[in-house]
């Protein structure tokens, strides 16, 4: 009997070409890029090199696309430097024969939303993205991680990448998610528990009955924020839900190949006795709706709590970290989180810009009218169409929410969508770093239902107090 293996180990071995001391040369089955990959293309030009396997590279216009006046195409962009980023990606993709989901493409979207929609993301692949949230794709049972411009350059030129083997961490989540608690709350609770660097050097496998019970979209939300826990990647065992999601999508295998793929994918889940370097467990029943109060994702608490006091911190370093965060966020120790007013609400991003996220927000939007500017930004143009077919756009606009075009928008705030200094936003995105949504902006990360609740009350709100358990 061969030794029991983790899913990570199986996928790693399947893509290992050769070993040099501590590093393994890995074959990269899929590479995803976006407008920010300009440094990689600049270097290709500089070195006079081409792309080794352009059919395995996919490009997405997402970070810099406008989310208003999209019918104008590039003319909707006032800043020539922003416009140039999209034009650069288009010309580079054309030059190197790379499939580009550009601003006017029917299937345009955020790389971590549109990639799975197109079934470019498949179980068992080794996928590298030019973006740290590439861990999202691991929800399909593969090894997906982000890389910088130099590593992506190496992939472009060779379709391979040298990597040191990471350690493995299993996070087991068991039990039923309580009423009002979503996938976003699960991952925020995990990060609050293990810390912003808690999974550093590790690939995380999420397991347990809660994960098995999740939809593919919920699984993507959890895997998405693996990087906020410091993880190199996040993954979940593929199952029938995975195959049902993928079957028939554009890049999914077809016919006999599909059957052969399923047979192979069923061998991927970690063997029963496989050992992980680190084990963490979490009780789903104990999770409540979460909110971040500080300037990194580990600074999160249940909505029912109060803002912490630096005085209660264990060490001097923690004390100064909390003080600095509260100072930046304009918050006082001891205040109830539900007393914090917001100036803006953002619902979207690769974390929470999918159909189920929009449906959850729409359920709450039906209960009132927006008290502050509230943006709904679908994760892809495909989702925008589907949501409109379902009538979600009308629910939002009737509640005074703004229904916008698909892209990264206020999550990364470089397409012109931006908060003003001091503005406070309830946001379904993934990072609450200083200045992330604009210079001096203040971000509270929440689930889509919680963001919609903040929209109709004008302050951070426990969504469970607005809705009743069915």
């Amino acid at each position: 009997m061969p030794a029991p293996q983790t899913m990570f180990e199986k996928i790693w071995r399947q893509h290992a070409i050769t070993v040099e001391e501590d590093e393994t040369l890995l074959y990269v089955a899929r590479c995803l890029i976006h407008e920010g990959s300009r440094h990689t293309f600049d270097r290709l030009d500089e070195e006079g090199r081409g792309v080794a396997e352009p059919d395995k590279v996919f490009a997405f216009s997402d970070h810099y696309v406008p989310t208003a006046n999209r019918e104008l195409g590039l003319d909707a962009i006032a800043d020539p430097k922003i416009r140039n980023m999209i034009e650069l990606l288009a010309s580079n993709c054309k030059k190197h024969g790379i499939r580009h989901f550009n601003i006017d493409d029917d299937d345009q979207g955020i790389l971590h939303v549109a990639g799975p929609e197109q079934a470019i993301t498949l179980p068992g692949v080794l996928l590298v993205g030019a973006d740290s949230h590439t861990a999202t794709h691991g929800a399909f049972g593969n090894l997906s991680f982000g890389a910088g411009a130099s590593e992506v350059y190496h992939i472009m030129v060779t379709q391979t990448l040298w990597q040191r083997k990471p350690r493995t961490m299993r996070i087991a989540i068991d039990g039923d998610l309580p009423f009002g608690v979503g996938a976003k709350d699960v991952i925020l609770a995990i990060i609050a528990k293990i810390g912003h660097g808690g999974a550093s050097g590790h690939v995380i496998e999420y397991a347990g009955s809660t994960v098995e019970g999740m939809t593919m979209e919920q699984r993507m939300t959890v895997c998405n924020m693996s990087i906020e826990a410091g993880g190199r990647a996040g993954m979940m065992a593929p199952d029938d839900k995975t195959y049902d999601y993928l079957e028939g999508r554009p890049y999914a295998p077809k016919g006999d190949e599909w059957d052969a793929a399923i047979d192979y994918w069923r061998t991927l889940p970690s063997d029963e006795d496989a050992a992980f370097d680190t084990e963490v467990s979490l009780d789903a029943d104990a999770i409540t709706p979460m909110v971040t109060w500080g300037t990194n994702p580990e600074q999160a608490l249940p909505i029912t709590e109060q803002i912490p006091s630096p005085e209660n911190a264990g060490t001097e370093a923690d004390k100064s970290e909390i003080s600095a965060a509260l100072d930046y966020m304009g918050l006082k120790p001891g205040m109830a989180i539900t007393d914090i007013p917001v100036d803006h609400v953002f619902i979207g991003s690769c974390t929470n810009g999918r159909m189920e996220d929009l449906r959850a927000a729409a359920e709450v939007a039906k209960l009132g009218k927006a008290k502050v500017p509230t943006w709904i930004v679908p994760g892809s143009t495909t989702i925008k169409r589907e949501a409109e077919a379902e009538g979600l756009d009308r629910i939002f606009t009737e509640a005074g929410f703004e229904w916008r075009g698909a892209g990264c928008s206020l999550c990364t705030a470089i397409n012109g969508d931006l908060l003003q200094p001091g503005q406070r936003c309830a946001s379904t995105s993934n990072r609450n770093f200083k200045g992330r949504q604009g210079l001096g902006s203040r971000t509270h990360l929440v689930s889509p239902a919680m963001a919609a609740a903040a929209a109709i009350t004008g302050k951070l709100t426990d969504v469970r107090t607005l809705t009743e358990e069915q």
Partner: protein
């Protein structure tokens, strides 16, 4: 890539944990091409400069001895967050050649290594001690010897650090990854054929 062998330079302390790549390089600067003269001002831009472009005199990198800093002594989880390599271009353009911390964001650490910038991992207690010394004596210098894998603090105490063999060799010799990969080209070609035989449904990429 320029080789990294030994360094004796002014060290600047950053006491806070979790300094993310958004702070090192605010996202709006990700557009800037490598080598652009704007880069030296990008590092910690929104902490260093007011909106009118004037300097914030209190920020540590704006104080005289630290303007010449070549080494950062940080806390835990330096460079977490985004994969933006522009954070490393900004560090390098300012003149930073090494960062000492008790842990690093994984992607940022890789990005440093690919650009000849040395990430050194030391226990957090040692990082705290080194920061206390460089706080106490502004402009204090720290020595780093990559060959010997040692850091020498301002008080002369020497600490050993671990670094994996391949990145160490690449840094010492200024080796570029593509060069060493090309030595394995026949292995790659063989692998690609085998991969296509074993998992054609993953290897063949086409839309219907």
């Amino acid at each position: 890539m320029k080789p990294f062998t030994k360094l004796n330079g002014v060290a600047v302390p950053f006491d806070q944990a979790n300094i993310d790549t958004n702070q090192l390089c605010p996202t709006r600067f990700n557009k800037v091409p490598i080598g652009d003269p704007e880069y030296p001002r990008i590092l910690f831009h929104d902490h260093r400069f007011n909106t009118d472009g004037s300097e914030k005199p209190d920020f540590i990198l704006n104080r005289p001895p630290y303007r010449e800093a070549e080494i950062i002594v940080a806390d835990r989880n330096w460079g977490g967050g985004s994969s933006r390599e522009s954070a490393v271009y900004a560090l390098a353009a300012f003149g930073i050649k090494a960062v000492i911390a008790s842990s690093f964001g994984d992607i940022h650490r890789n990005n440093c290594l690919k650009n000849g910038l040395l990430p050194v991992v030391l226990d957090n207690e040692i990082c705290v001690k080194l920061r206390q010394q460089v706080h106490a004596e502004q402009g204090a210098r720290i020595g780093i010897d990559l060959e010997a894998q040692t850091v020498t603090g301002p008080d002369g105490t020497t600490y050993s650090f671990e670094i994996a063999p391949v990145p160490r060799r690449c840094l010492l010799n200024g080796l570029d990854d593509v060069g060493r990969t090309e030595e394995h080209q026949s292995d790659i070609d063989t692998f690609r054929d085998t991969y296509r035989e074993k998992v054609p449904f993953l290897a063949d990429v086409r839309a219907d």
